[in-house]
Symmetry: D2
């Protein structure tokens, strides 16, 4: 067995940084050698996060692009805008990077700037590969910079893209009604995310105004072969993890649930992390908790004119850090599923 690959986590104290640490702490072929944090420099990671007591992890340091030359790959878990600068500097030094922010997901600078504000490293937008291995595996293997997908888009794109590519669905609006656990909002001490405000509550937010919308449209347009129109409604559910997506599609011709399922099953035949459920079963977020799986089901309407795709992912794993490790495995020539095969923690 060769030496373990060395990794950096830039911005290691948010939920995606912690989740990367959780996965990588027992990865057979890689180890974390650099962890950075602006606010907690000098602290031992396990002092800050006692759940990691007993694990051999580096002390938190300030981000220094030059130091990244010593690692095989760096993960960036920074807020958007801040990420583009940090990733950009690392890229200029030749560092392989998986960026978990939104900064390199949108290929068109104008679209990015409409939703997020100015982009200082527009030069990298076309170089970055969208980190969905199910769509871009070969490109990811050769990429220097991978833009890890957003949590909501992951569920929507994987659930729907094969149906659009196959030409069986997609005319008119695609409606993606998405329900997310609270960790999707990040590690924050705000009143709106406090236990008493979220527990025993359920609400929609940011209707027609969530930044993951254009990301869905970009990838679904690619699948459809023309401009796809997505109505995306995010909701906050009283649970820690998980995104359930319920996606409504018009069909191009009358089809049964079985026929539609066949399209998905074939598209994902060799995919290690996509599980297409039998007709009659429906995904549940608890069945993918803590894993990199995406569970999918499709149900045709009785008249066969529309269909509902239901998708379930763990927003912190397949929706963030698990996908990032899957990308890393591909970029470093490791087995794609390595470190990602533990079954769901259920109940």
């Amino acid at each position: 067995m060769g030496e373990k690959k060395k990794l950096a986590i830039v911005g290691a104290t948010g939920y995606t940084g912690q989740e990367l640490t959780r996965i990588l702490a027992v990865h057979p072929s890689a180890r974390i050698s650099i962890m950075t944090s602006r606010q907690n420099t000098g602290e031992a990671y396990a002092d800050l996060f006692p759940s990691f007591k007993g694990y051999d992890l580096p002390t938190l340091t300030q981000y220094d692009p030059a130091r990244l030359r010593s690692v095989d790959l760096a993960f960036f878990c920074l807020p958007h805008a801040e990420s583009m600068e940090a990733v950009g500097k690392a890229h200029d030094l030749g560092v392989k990077a998986v960026d978990l922010s939104a900064d390199f997901r949108l290929r068109v600078k104008k679209v990015y700037e409409k939703w997020y504000g100015p982009h200082s490293r527009g030069d990298l937008l076309k170089k970055a590969v969208y980190g969905l291995p199910e769509l871009y595996r070969e490109k990811i293997k050769k990429a220097q910079l991978v833009a890890n997908p957003g949590c909501y888009p992951t569920g929507v794109i994987l659930g729907v893209a094969p149906l659009l590519s196959a030409g069986v669905a997609g005319p008119g609006r695609i409606i993606a009604d998405m329900k997310s656990g609270v960790s999707g909002a990040g590690r924050k001490g705000t009143l709106a995310l406090s236990f008493c405000e979220v527990n025993e509550a359920f609400r929609a937010y940011n209707l027609y105004a969530h930044r993951h919308g254009p990301e869905m449209e970009q990838e679904l347009s690619a699948a459809l072969g023309k401009k796809a129109s997505v109505t995306f409604s995010p909701h906050l559910a009283p649970m820690n993890r998980g995104i359930l997506g319920t996606i409504y599609l018009a069909l191009t011709k009358k089809l049964s649930s079985s026929a539609l399922r066949e399209v998905l099953a074939e598209a994902y035949l060799d995919e290690p992390f996509v599980r297409v459920l039998p007709v009659g079963d429906l995904p549940c977020v608890s069945r993918v908790r803590g894993t990199n799986f995406v569970d999918l089901a499709v149900t045709a309407s009785p008249d066969g004119k529309e269909a509902i795709v239901v998708t379930a992912i763990d927003n912190l794993v397949k929706g963030a850090s698990g996908a990032a490790v899957q990308n890393m495995n591909l970029m470093l020539g490791l087995p794609e599923t390595e470190g990602l095969l533990s079954p769901p923690l259920r109940p």
Copy 2:
């Protein structure tokens, strides 16, 4: 002050029976004089449900239609099919009744029988009034038999009917993506509803196959003036109470959120329990917990061609027992809001 009205609760041990008891135990103008249960006959209600210790409630007895002649009104909280018989016998004796089952909600026998099975009291289907005061107040006042609406339909119909009636929305399918707390499934000891299976979980169920679908279509068709087509997707959320509805509608002409809100606000101007939120705010189930309120908001898409209506109710109150008391108040000539004005229990 006159004497208090006397009431019966037939089938008092399920969640809707308990919720009726909760509301009626402090109703200023009514008191419960009969409570029935097949399984717990002879037991004191507070022995069975110790949360009611200290309240003066009758001992549980077997259902006997003849005894209902002594009450001013009877609530029926029985399973469908069983209810039609029990309600029918009481009706034949001249008893005023609010039926919380599905048995008298659908006006067309054939539709009922397609979804639920044989109906032995089809003669009452046309006499029964659909118990949504916001739509049928005057009829309810004079009714002998009121069919209390289903929990899911209540949220959908109240959110959408005025937009259909006004002719601003409704062509094509109406998509109702509904998220319900677990009490909507009733008081049951099944594995699927056990804490560990539901907590930290979220799932869809019964796609294109839930019995509340035809009820929505019946009432929305009435509002639209022609056959309305509803795609209804129920979901189970890890919380005790509440239904959040996210309803997608095509518009007949380009309209802003404000214009759409105006339609709802005008329709519900004098309604004591409907709260139309300002543009920019969205309902949350915790804001209506324990109350008879329905909170509504409408958001137009940026291109003004479609809209999303979000509705929140407490499934056990406005979605069941609160609506039943509202109907009772109307049927007995009491102030409509009596006993129903406590603010939400939040947090």
Copy 3:
């Protein structure tokens, strides 16, 4: 019916302020005429808390002691230290007050200052009456200033005091292992209280260091007739409301559960809000949710040498705002239970 009593809520935007508003909004004999807030002056209460939309409530104003002369009683829901000043000024103007902070609960200034810091209105410590009607009803009726008990002490004192007074329990340490819902920590946007940190978690905190300890010892010493020694351990449970207390006591002589229950039952015979459960049943916080009840049970050890008292309250009601309204009713000559009799919201 006479005119409604006029009330002020000073510091109306925390959870205890909201809970007072919830109760008083439908109180038959009182209405809120002043609500204050430092941060939200000028805002309508229902704009800040949309769950109150539809209720007639005053606009938030700055606290001004002079204005309190127009009300019959003022509730103070301010942080400790801040409260002593505000309450003191109102007291000097002759205003009746219920203080929900800790500032006037401890009778001995030195004890207060050891746990909380300097006390500027030590002159009022002896005048203030400890607001537990079950112990001090007659004094409360005549009081100008009532110190509303802490949430943890309420459960402990009511569960144990009669056993100490009767001389059947109490030698040695009393161990109070208390489990509280999250609203007990107040309305705050801190990371430690964020949903993802609290949900699916359970922890102890502030062992031997919680400020409610001396309050318990003060009142239990009074019951015991000599210095009582209490080991008090607070815990945070993943639920919005409720405190369950498990209290371990040595007995002075061998006694059965029935005999101990009899002591409690007799002590609370005429108490409207204390429910002593039958032997074999144990309290559950959900059975008192949203109510002013305290549920109690006592179980003797098989050898009859020690006993476990279990108590359940809703920390925001009997543990705070409900008790405050009960005190108000007494102070204003209203029926003690008025506005406080709605059954628990369950499930």
Copy 4:
């Protein structure tokens, strides 16, 4: 690398069976070759538990002791009484076994029969080794039959035994106030465990009457060197997993928290799964979720006469299936921590 060890799970469909499957599905040196179920014979495990879709697991079969001769070790996840028979037969055939039921935990037949009923294999009670590696590692390595400890006793014994052995604590009663997540009650469809009854609820149960009490007394007496007296109070907390224990101990001499911590730290110096927290920090069940860790802290009272030990485990891992795999590793000569080192799933 040698061939993987072959394992059987007898009674694979309860929560402990599922949890064994979760852990063993990715164990580097072992694989499951037999899974049994009385009710689901013939079904594929992943059809029954779709969260395991994609894993290579055997079809469920009826239990047949003879077939166990083909495996290196069998886990028994059967109800008590039923287990003694099944384990006994396997033992007679020379099969190595870890029994997760209570049937072989108590060494004295009379004690077992007082709490559980008749024992048909009393001959094995003395041969069985109590499966707590921290106390009995060397015996476990050589055992043919290991009795896996109860979930509650694990937390209590590991938290307290070293203090008793060291002679610094233990005179008088030890009070163990234990709070468990709901999975501890098993995979059951009963009303009492239904979501709406457990969520937003908290209660004590089985005071002075829980079967884990004698198990604690057996092991703590061994540590103390004389009969230990334990008052054990179980509680049900609204969360899926985890047991927090708060244990009250009298000290034999005045000691500080640091001195007490030192006793624990030294006792567990080389233990891979016991984490003794620094003074001032306290365990939280979420920090051990999904892991085999036990987190411990001890706090002395200000007068140094008593102490509170707080312990946290995941009831399904260190409290059941994780401990079982730890025992298996020891019994089969594998590295003790193999397959058990994934960090906590948090949040």
